[in-house]
């Protein structure tokens, strides 16, 4: 019962060739971006005196080798969550760059509950997760009234809130929550009841992965199948149009940012509630989950269902470059460089699109 056939097929204004040209970049550009990044990586390796084949081999083994795959899945969990934290507000045209802060407050909230709330064992785990989700959501939600009332762009406020939030958690683990015995700035080990149960045969892969996958499914469904998802896209396409059509832009902004912060907070909890079951200062920010997630979200474009794929790719880059550093002494920051190249190539995708649009406009009559 498709609707198209019963319309009397009015004369097409979009020729098949145009439609192809509009569609082509959607598939070609992301692949191209990855290939360009890999090529840049090869050049950098050559410049550093490393055979790129050996380099990429070390990277893939570092991420997907038998000994590392378990840890890679844990990193994938965090990166996938952070890609959702960026992708949800991005759907309505807002950029959440404050992922680090939201991760950290999530992690610290989970730590406080795990260490200081005397709850019976079966309640402790959900309480930790809930606290993390709420903390992340609150921090991110702060940016909503800032943009809808004070017109401070989300991209600025999330970042400016992130730095102090990270600093605050760093203070907390160094002083009030510190594990006095160790020389490392970290909290004591959480009680067993606050450990996320690992999947059979693994150490790092645990319930967190399932939770994040659940969130992913929810996002995909809401995005494609509900009025809410439609409204997000309408705001992203044209804010004034959406408001005119009855969408409450302030409410939606609050909801989108709170959800983003909630996922990021969840990711923070998942990381600290996995081996070694502590909040270690820097352990949430140093691996660069936030930016890997942003890169994955940009690569997936407006298709949330693709996020697991792109998040997996950046997990390989991220974890693999740590392995590369270990095996062949090539700094792991190469992973960040490659992410940046992917983002830059993707940004230039618009060039192809605007060129197409310009051609289309030129054909249209301009009479008035």
């Amino acid at each position: 019962m498709s609707a198209a056939p019963d319309s009397p097929a009015p004369p097409a204004t979009l020729r098949p060739a145009d439609r192809l040209r509009l569609a082509a970049p959607q598939a070609v550009v992301p692949l191209g971006a990855v290939l360009v990044a890999l090529a840049v990586g090869a050049v950098v390796m050559l410049a550093a005196g490393v055979d790129p084949v050996r380099g990429y081999d070390a990277m893939v083994r570092g991420a997907l080798g038998v000994s590392s795959i378990d840890f890679s899945v844990a990193a994938f969990t965090a990166i996938l969550a952070m890609s959702l934290a960026f992708a949800v507000p991005a759907r309505m045209g807002e950029y959440n760059l404050g992922g680090d802060g939201q991760l950290c407050v999530g992690g610290i909230a989970a730590a406080v509950v795990a260490l200081h709330l005397p709850l019976p064992a079966p309640l402790l785990l959900p309480a930790c997760l809930l606290a993390a989700v709420v903390a992340g959501a609150l921090l991110a939600a702060l940016s909503a009234p800032l943009t809808t009332r004070a017109r401070v762009p989300v991209i600025i406020s999330t970042l400016l809130l992130s730095t102090p939030a990270v600093a605050l958690t760093s203070y907390l683990v160094r002083f009030p929550l510190a594990d006095r015995g160790s020389g490392v700035p970290q909290t004591p080990r959480f009680p067993d009841a606050a450990h996320l149960p690992a999947l059979p045969g693994t150490q790092y892969t645990n319930l967190g992965l399932l939770l994040v996958l659940l969130v992913l499914v929810a996002v995909v469904v809401v995005d494609g199948r509900t009025p809410l998802g439609f409204e997000l896209r309408a705001v992203g396409a044209n804010r004034r149009f959406a408001a005119y059509g009855g969408v409450s832009v302030p409410g939606l902004t609050l909801g989108a940012l709170a959800s983003a912060g909630a996922v990021a907070g969840l990711a923070g909890a998942v990381v600290v509630m996995t081996q070694p079951f502590r909040f270690v200062d820097g352990a949430l920010t140093a691996p660069g989950y936030t930016f890997a997630g942003i890169a994955a979200a940009l690569l997936a474009g407006g298709r949330p269902a693709l996020l697991p794929l792109t998040a997996a790719l950046f997990t390989v880059l991220q974890v693999g470059s740590t392995g590369m550093e270990r095996d062949i002494d090539l700094p792991r920051q190469l992973g960040q460089v490659l992410q940046a190249v992917v983002i830059l190539v993707l940004a230039l995708r618009t060039v192809a699109l605007t060129a197409t649009a310009r051609r289309a406009r030129r054909r249209a009559p301009e009479r008035s």
């Binding site: 800032l146 401070v152 730095t163 600093a167 060039v351």
Partner: protein, 301 residues
């Protein structure tokens, strides 16, 4: 506590903290005036810090370090200039890419090229010369004699830029380009060229900012040493609505918060807390000013 705020040495510390942010923010303000949203300041300043330290260390010449920072950061700005101005790519995503590229590349090169991890401060790394000749001059002496020569530059350039915008044909044209590009183009002003040139100038200013931060405020390169200063600069630009002198004032506010933070650290407050203060102060002021401004304009419900 209050008396310490008023001492000249405190004001001197404020100026030190202000200088790098003010240089970067001036670049951002000029871009704003030209109608380009430049939030790649953070990455550009970070890159400039790295270039300045590496070249100064290799050549032993602080001025070659400054030159390298300015030249290479201007080149880095081309990514934004070409990508978002000429090719109309999303300036925000390009900037996110540039910022991440700078972070990754400096970290990568720090280890692979310099074999350092975390911090690079080889013995003999020259710092920017201070204004020793002002020693003994009343007021100016205590304020500036301990400062690098780039500090007065950072304080005076915004004034010069304000004059240039208001009083020269090119400045007038730039203002028009930012306000209504189509109108400027219809009168024959090459809009894209003006915007690209401005982005490059902002790159050069970020180059100076990085040189001051890494060879003036400290003498070292540390991974991610900008630590959000580029974003504070962006906030200052918004706060002052692209007016150079206003940007300088906004940056002085940040500088004061940072310098006060150092003071509080001196009396035992944890560094993590005092580090956070300038960002919160900046954000709070930004929110208050913007909120009042938009309520004055009578925003629709």
């Amino acid at each position: 506590m209050l008396s310490s705020v008023l001492t000249l040495s405190f004001v001197a510390a404020v100026l030190t903290s202000t200088a790098p942010v003010a240089l970067a923010a001036l670049g951002g303000a000029l871009c704003g005036r030209a109608g380009v949203f430049n939030i790649a300041l953070e990455g550009q300043v970070l890159w400039a810090c790295f270039a300045a330290v590496v070249v100064a260390a290799w050549t032993g010449s602080v001025w070659l370090g400054v030159l390298a920072a300015v030249v290479t950061t201007t080149l880095l700005a081309s990514v934004l200039a070409v990508g978002s101005v000429r090719w109309h790519a999303d300036p925000i995503i390009v900037a996110v890419g540039v910022n991440l590229l700078a972070l990754g590349l400096t970290g990568f090169l720090l280890r692979s090229l310099l074999g350092a991890s975390g911090t690079y401060a080889p013995p003999g790394l020259p710092g920017l010369p201070d204004l020793a000749l002002l020693r003994g001059v009343p007021v100016l002496g205590p304020l500036l004699s301990g400062q690098s020569v780039l500090v007065p530059v950072a304080l005076l350039l915004p004034l010069a830029a304000a004059w240039w915008l208001a009083r020269t044909p090119a400045g007038l044209r730039l203002r028009g380009v930012g306000d209504h590009p189509a109108a400027a183009a219809s009168l024959g002003v090459p809009v894209t060229r003006y915007q690209q040139a401005t982005v490059h100038v902002a790159g050069a200013l970020c180059g100076l900012a990085g040189a001051q931060l890494a060879l003036g405020n400290v003498t070292a390169f540390t991974e991610n040493m900008t630590a959000g200063r580029g974003w504070v600069a962006v906030a200052a630009v918004m706060l002052a609505v692209n007016r150079p002198v206003g940007v300088l004032l906004a940056c002085l506010l940040f500088g004061a918060a940072e310098a006060w933070g150092f003071r509080l650290q001196g009396i035992g407050l944890p560094q993590q807390l005092t580090d956070a203060a300038p960002y919160l102060v900046t954000l709070v002021v930004l929110v208050v000013v913007r909120a009042r401004r938009s309520s004055r304009q009578g925003a629709p419900a």
